[in-house]
Amino acid sequence: MKEFALIFRLNDMKDFQPSPEQMQERMNWLGSIAAQNKLADKGNTLLPIPGSAKTVKPDHVVTDGPYTEIKEFISGYIVVRTETIDEAVEIAKANPIFKIGGSIEVREVLKRD
């Protein structure tokens, strides 16, 4: 079994606060992965709001948030446990994030021992 991080990206700050229905959809998706015993880590949400997000650059230049210069921002991640990357991609496809124009990056996790 391999592990893959699914990294969620959103385009619009207003999508970050989900409606109760969107929340249910997300939880159904997460619950479905866990029910298959394929959830390695339920991950975390990464707050993009002012005061919660800064980027540090060379020469210690600190900017507010990741969202000022790039369009997309990372909103969170989870880690799934599957045989192949294709299986992880299939899991990602069922996520409701695509309804609001978000995207998911699938990356194999190489564990540091």
């Binding site: 249910q24 939880m27 159904n28 997460l30 619950g31 479905s32 866990a34 029910a35 298959q36 015993n37």
Partner: protein, 389 residues
């Protein structure tokens, strides 16, 4: 001291042998003391033989000083105190629970294996190791201090949870035994709420869960001892006073300081929604609680129950896809669920799954129920597509 440990563990061993066969005696403490005392007498008898023969000197008057004195300062109930004593961190949590179930709740190895969804051999080995390490850890029957009680509470709750479940879901058809196990678990959990050290939100949540489940004890079995499925239960048989007590404990299980989301909270929440007959969003609530429960701890049963709730919200067709992803082909509940989900749209496939479930289950009652269901589906199928001639 080593002698005392040996005697204590031998006493436990004897208790487990006797209680497993004859059930827990009316007064377990007195029983344990009597056995322990006799063992001590035996010991000194042997010792005296040894002393008189080898050293030609009579043993000192030792009997009265060596009587067991059980200090009940912090936990007054003997059964509960024993469970806390056995839940020693010298063993892994799993082993502690096995030991408590075997020694103090009178479970057989088979019953423990069922409770842990594992093989009897694994449990046997686990018990063996646990007893050895208790011996090596200078196990003593003594009262615990506050910190020890607090740190052992989680394991004790888990033990009581399994004790209750064995009563509630047990394979045995003896309803009397089932009720006794359940009420003993409730009694002990109730005692935990009366002690300031153990009166915590998870304890209340567990008690709420037990109350909600107990409220259906009468309704979920017919006089022949066969399980009646939730949908077919006579709701007038549900015990309303127990539901009310469940509600009370569930409210108590939340306090302002923390957002409690233990397994017991979630399961009590699910049980609560089951007791409410009409609410448009009932199954959506149940599904969301199952989503959270499965994030805390994966188990095949939770996965299957979650899918059942999913079917109630989104329909059987979507749920079939969801169920088949679970891929629990060796589990009879898996085939029962798929049989149920297919029964309206594809009776042939439903029958196939029910037959596989019959092949996998050990319970005669379940085989009976499934056979009846297959007959019903076969008739329905023939009615819809009458065979030629």
């Amino acid at each position: 001291m080593e002698i005392a440990e040996d005697i204590a563990s031998e006493t436990f061993l004897k208790a487990s042998e006797n209680w497993a066969i004859g059930g827990v005696p009316e007064n377990p403490t007195a029983w344990l003391y009597t056995v322990a005392k006799n063992k001590i007498k035996d010991y000194f008898k042997n010792l005296s033989v040894f002393e008189t023969k080898i050293k030609s000197k009579p043993p000192e008057n030792s009997q009265s000083e060596h009587d067991f004195e059980f200090n009940n300062q912090l936990i007054s109930d003997s059964q509960l105190a024993m469970i806390f004593a056995v839940c020693s961190p010298a063993n892994s949590t799993g082993s502690q629970i096995c030991l408590a179930l075997q020694i103090l709740c009178g479970f057989s190895v088979e019953e423990i294996a069922n409770a842990f969804l594992t093989k009897p051999e694994t449990i046997k080995k686990r018990l063996q190791r646990a007893k050895t390490s208790l011996r090596n850890d200078n196990f003593q029957l003594q009262s615990l201090n506050e910190t020890q009680i607090k740190s052992r509470l989680d394991t004790v709750l888990k033990t009581l949870y399994l004790l209750f479940n064995e009563g509630y879901f047990s394979k045995t058809n003896n309803q009397q035994i089932r009720k006794e196990l359940c009420s003993e678990a409730v009694r002990l959990t109730l005692l935990l709420t009366e002690n300031p050290l153990t009166n915590t939100p998870p304890t209340h949540a567990l008690l709420a869960l037990m109350c909600f489940q107990s409220s259906r004890l009468e309704a979920r079995m017919n006089p022949k001892g066969e399980v009646i499925l939730f949908n077919d239960q006579d709701r007038s048989l549900w015990d309303k006073s127990l539901i009310e007590r469940g509600n009370y404990y569930l409210v108590n299980a939340t306090d302002g300081s923390a957002n409690w989301r233990t397994k017991y909270h979630l399961e009590a929440g699910i049980a609560y929604w089951h007791t409410t007959p009409t609410d448009a969003n009932k199954w959506q609530h149940i599904l969301q609680l199952y989503n959270q429960l499965i994030l805390i701890e994966y188990s095949p049963i939770t996965a299957l129950n979650r899918t059942f709730a999913f079917a109630k919200v989104y329909g059987n067709k979507k749920a079939i896809a969801e169920a088949e992803k679970l891929n629990l082909t060796g589990n009879h509940y898996y085939h029962e669920l798929l049989g149920y989900l297919y029964s309206d749209t594809n009776p042939l496939k439903a029958i196939e799954h029910y037959q596989r479930a019959i092949g996998l289950t050990k319970s005669e009652t379940e085989k009976q129920t499934l056979t009846t269901e297959i007959e019903r589906l076969t008739q329905k199928k023939n009615h819809e597509h009458p065979s030629p001639g």
